[in-house]
Every structure is written in structure tokens, then in C-alpha cells.
């Protein structure tokens, strides 16, 4: 059995989610190849080659992969799919975008967002916003899978896999990247953060969202997240959103400030190790999942907490 893991990167840095997908691949068992497609990706390929457990890194370095567009990337993966029993990618916006395209071109089902590997053909995945766990078995010749990063440890360094170059496939020319507008943040990335401070609608405004949460996040070295209500109200950018339709996180500590705890939000954070809720409504559903709840006005409690952390 051989497994192909598609690396996620921004042409400069290998994204940590790739390491979680590699750990999932080691649980399936077999040789693990990593495919790095992009433009000017020598550093990414070198980082992938250094990960323990990787047998080979295959690199398609060409201008047409610079945008990591789904159409060209899927065509490249399919052209190089021969010999693999499993094709994996992280369940990030990137992996979710191109991998179903690969599966359809191979005429196989995709198994989305797995949280456990039972055997080489049987996997566990959450359904209904994480309110149920389905164990599914695939009879397809190739298993195409996206991996929920927070469910698997990150694979560490310690390998020295050979790197080989792959030829580029033809440019399909049906889609072109016009521009990217990325949210600038000096804080840790939400999906990789050890601590997350998350705000909800109760923050009241964009100014208060930042003024109240950021000192706490800075004190804890935490990433800042938001509920859908806070994002829809314009208090936080949409890539801060934690939930079924946003990011799935599982930090050591999740501090929910002024978040009611709708099903949609819980689906994104209820696997956190310790959950703290600060909310003035004692009946808010968030208290049902919180390890430590504090019924208090967040505008008083959060500054107190910052002060108490010294």
C-alpha cells in the first residue's frame, strides 16, 4: 500500500495541517509520499522531506500551480495517482476545495474530515455538526480522504526523504486568481493555537471586541476567535469564525467570552481540552460544555482576569 499526502502551503511555508494529515497516513500504514505542487516551493519540499515517516517527496514546481487553483491541482494529482491506495489532504479550505474534484475524476467517493482511522478502509467522521460520529467503510479502489487536523498529532521532524521532480500537467486555463486579501495577524494561527480567546455578540462592537479580547489574548499568548454572530455583526473578520461553517479548533484552553453556545459554534470547539465560559446569562448553553463557568459581565470580568494574570 502506498499513500499520497497533498501538502498544504503558501509557496513559502509548509502549513502545520500537513503534519496532522501525515500522522493520519501513518495510522493507515504503508509508504507515505508527499506531493508539493506550487511555484518556487524548494523550501516547502525540504520541510516536507524532513518530516519523520515520509518516504518520498514529489515536487511539481511550475508557474501554473502558483495560485493552487483547484482545477489544475486536481488534474495534477489525478495524473500522478497511479499506484496509490489512499490520497489524503488536510480538511482546510484548500483541501476541501480541490480533493472532491480529485475523487470525482477518479470515480470514487471522498471521506470528509476524518477524526479516526479504524483500519485501511474504515474511518470515523463527525456528522450533523459533530452531534454524531459515523464509522464508514469504503469499497473503492482508492480512498480519497480529508483529515481533521485537530484529531491527529502533528508529525515531528526526523526524516530525510528523497525529493524528486514531477512534470507539470497542461494548464486548463478556465480559472485565474485575481487577488488575495489576507487578514494580518501577529498572533498564533487559530487552528494551531494552544490557547484561544473567542468573542461573541455580547462584545457589542468591533472596537470593544478588540479592546476587550486582545489584552487577554496577548497575556495568554492566545489566538483570537469569534462566533458567527460576532462575525456577521462585523465585530471580527470572517476567518476568525469558529464553528461548523468556520474553523474547527481543539486547543488546550478555549475561553468563550460573551458566546451563547449555539450548536453551530459548539461543533467547532467542543473537543477543546478545557473550556472556560464567561457570560452574564446563567442559562446560556455554553455553560453545559464549559469546565469552568463564570457568570459575570464580561466588560468587568475580562479586565479583572487580565489583571489577575499579572
Amino acid at each position: 500500500m502506498a499513500i499520497l499526502v497533498i501538502a498544504e502551503h503558501d509557496n513559502a511555508v509548509l502549513k502545520p495541517a500537513t503534519r496532522n494529515a501525515i500522522t493520519a497516513a501513518t495510522k493507515i500504514g504503508g509508504d507515505i509520499d508527499v506531493l508539493v505542487a506550487g511555484s518556487g516551493v524548494a523550501a516547502v519540499a525540504a520541510a516536507a522531506a524532513a518530516i519523520a515517516g515520509v518516504s518520498r517527496v514529489r515536487v511539481a514546481d511550475a508557474a501554473l500551480y502558483a495560485d493552487l487553483g483547484a482545477e489544475n491541482l486536481a488534474a495534477l494529482v489525478v495524473a500522478n495517482a497511479a499506484g496509490y491506495s489512499h490520497i489524503l489532504a488536510p480538511a482546510t479550505a484548500g483541501g476541501k476545495n480541490f480533493l472532491p474534484r480529485v475523487a470525482a475524476l477518479l470515480d470514487v467517493a471522498q471521506i470528509s474530515d476524518i477524526v479516526a482511522v479504524e483500519s485501511a478502509d474504515t474511518f470515523v467522521r463527525p456528522i450533523y455538526a459533530g452531534n454524531a460520529l459515523a464509522t464508514v467503510q469504503s469499497a473503492d479502489p482508492v480512498k480519497v480522504i480529508t483529515v481533521r487536523g485537530t484529531a491527529f498529532e502533528a508529525a515531528a521532524d526526523g526524516g530525510s526523504a528523497p525529493i524528486e521532480a514531477l512534470g507539470a500537467a497542461a494548464d486548463l486555463g478556465i480559472s485565474k486568481l485575481v487577488g488575495r486579501e489576507l487578514t494580518k495577524s501577529a498572533r498564533p494561527e487559530l487552528t494551531a493555537a494552544r490557547i484561544i480567546v473567542s468573542g461573541g455578540r455580547a462584545l457589542g462592537s468591533s472596537e470593544q471586541f478588540h479592546a476587550v479580547l486582545e489584552p487577554l489574548a496577548d497575556k495568554l499568548g492566545a489566538a483570537v476567535g469569534a462566533s458567527r454572530a460576532a462575525v456577521d455583526a462585523g465585530y471580527a473578520p470572517n476567518d476568525y469564525q469558529v464553528g461548523q461553517t468556520g474553523k474547527i479548533v481543539a486547543p488546550s484552553l478555549y475561553v468563550a467570552v460573551g458566546v451563547s453556545g449555539a450548536i453551530q459554534h459548539l461543533a467547532g470547539m467542543k473537543d477543546s481540552k478545557v473550556i472556560v465560559a464567561i457570560n452574564k446569562d446563567p442559562d446560556a448553553p455554553i455553560f453545559q460544555v464549559a469546565d469552568y463557568g463564570l457568570v459575570a459581565d464580561l466588560f468587568v470580568a475580562v479586565p479583572e482576569l487580565v489583571a489577575a494574570l499579572g
Binding site: R180, E181, K270
Partner: protein, 251 residues
């Protein structure tokens, strides 16, 4: 141009689902069903494109049991012109739905297909991408803004990605899947619900479309996720800091 909008009948998003005790699935008996929220956004976008004079016809399509008719009537009450039901009692998985939709696209020849980004029951997030692959069309997934070019040969679509937004220039025909922030869906008014009853609803079957819908994945069991042990409420900030430092040891 014509727009095709696939819609799915799912458990209402406000319902707290219950896993059946025999582990065979989720209990759907006597549970409120509704249109998948992402599909409401898709219908809304298609109807807005029609109101802007860009689209000429909006066709809603759904695959599944006979009761999906209600979902299609809702789509027509929201502004779809007509509907197609692909009726089957077989459990449909995304690849099968993508193949059924491809058969409908081949017949209807729309310039744009707008599915929701994912259904809130199976949470797969695959069908739109699979349909684009089968058709050889470009895809723009998780769209938060769609601008069709004046000559209708292309579109600029802004997508939500990890870390921010990106804008793609895609050639039409294409598949665009909706993210929640694309628009705010309207409510169906009573007169429109009445009018929707008179709009045409055509029924077909997977066999008539020549598509094999046999499931590829077998669900062995469905279980409740592990429950979190009940937490405690602390009296004040000092007690909270003490618990986090000395009991949970996370800070």
C-alpha cells in the same frame, strides 16, 4: 442565461439530533425537516441575478424521497421558476448526486450551477466540486460575492479561504458554491407560497437519467460523541485563575 440550483431536504438546523440506540443512524422520525441553509443562500443568489436582469430562468433541482417536493416548492416560493425532482428511496451520497446533477445539466444546459457549500446533515462539502469535475467546468467554492461579467462569458467570484478572501476570474459555464455570507435569504411570502403551488414540478428517476446511485460508502455505525463531564461554576475571577493554574494546569 439559465441558473440551476440544487437544493437538499435536511433536518432543520435548530433540531437537536438524537442518535438511534441501535447505532444505525440518526432518528429522523417526526423530526422537522427544512431546506439546507446554504441552499437557501444559493436560491437567493440565483433569484437576485434574475432580478438584476442577468439570469433569465432559475431551475431548482432536488434528489431524494418524494417529500423533497416540499423543499422544491419552498425554492419556487422564494423565486425559482420551475423545479425538477429526482425521486429515489436509495441513500444518496455526494458522488451519486453529482452524477445525477451532471445528467440534469447535460439536458438543461445552464450557464451557472449554484449549490450550497455543504449540507448540514452529512457535512461532506463535496457535491459542487464533484459536479464541476464531472463537467470539466471551473469551480468557485465558498463564495461570498459573485459578479457576472457584462458579456456573461465569465464571472469574478470572491471566496472565503483560511486567512482571508481571494477573488477568482472564472469562465462560464461554472459551478459556484455558496458560503453563508454571500447574502441574506428572503422569506417566502404567503402569496408567493400560493403561486409556487402552480409552478411546474417535473419528476424523474436516477434510472431515467441513466445514473447508478449505489452508495460507495457503507455506514457501519453511528454513535454519540463522547460527552463532556459536567463542569462547575466559579464565584469570581480569582477562583477562575486559581482553577486554571492549579487544577487544569493550562496557564
Amino acid at each position: 442565461m439559465k441558473i440551476l440550483v440544487p437544493v437538499k431536504r435536511v433536518i432543520d438546523y435548530n433540531v437537536k439530533v438524537r442518535v438511534k440506540s441501535d447505532g444505525s443512524g440518526v432518528d429522523l422520525a417526526n423530526v422537522k425537516m427544512s431546506m439546507n441553509p446554504f441552499d437557501e443562500v444559493a436560491i437567493e443568489e440565483a433569484v437576485r441575478l434574475k432580478e438584476a436582469g442577468i439570469a433569465t430562468e432559475v431551475v431548482a433541482v432536488s434528489a431524494g424521497v418524494g417529500a423533497c417536493q416540499e423543499t422544491l416548492r419552498t425554492a419556487m416560493a422564494l423565486g425559482a421558476d420551475r423545479a425538477i425532482l429526482i425521486e429515489t428511496d436509495v441513500e444518496l451520497q455526494p458522488l451519486a448526486v453529482a452524477k445525477l446533477l451532471k445528467a440534469v445539466v447535460d439536458k438543461e444546459q445552464p450557464q451557472l450551477v449554484i449549490p450550497g457549500k455543504q449540507a448540514i446533515d452529512d457535512d461532506s462539502n463535496q457535491t459542487g466540486q464533484m459536479l464541476a469535475a464531472l463537467l470539466g467546468w471551473p469551480q468557485a467554492c465558498f463564495a461570498s460575492k459573485v459578479v457576472v461579467n457584462a458579456d456573461k462569458t465569465g464571472a469574478a467570484v470572491t471566496r472565503e479561504i483560511d486567512g482571508g478572501l481571494e477573488t477568482l476570474d472564472i469562465k462560464l459555464p461554472a459551478v459556484v458554491t455558496t458560503d453563508l455570507r454571500l447574502n441574506e435569504p428572503r422569506y417566502a411570502t404567503l402569496p408567493n407560497i400560493m403561486k409556487a403551488k402552480k409552478k411546474p414540478l417535473e419528476t424523474t428517476t436516477p434510472a431515467a437519467l441513466g445514473v447508478d446511485v449505489t452508495p460507495r460508502l457503507k455506514t457501519l455505525k453511528v454513535a454519540e460523541p463522547p460527552k463532556r463531564s459536567g463542569g462547575i461554576k466559579v464565584a469570581d475571577v480569582a477562583a477562575l485563575v486559581d482553577k486554571l493554574k492549579n487544577e487544569a494546569k493550562v496557564i
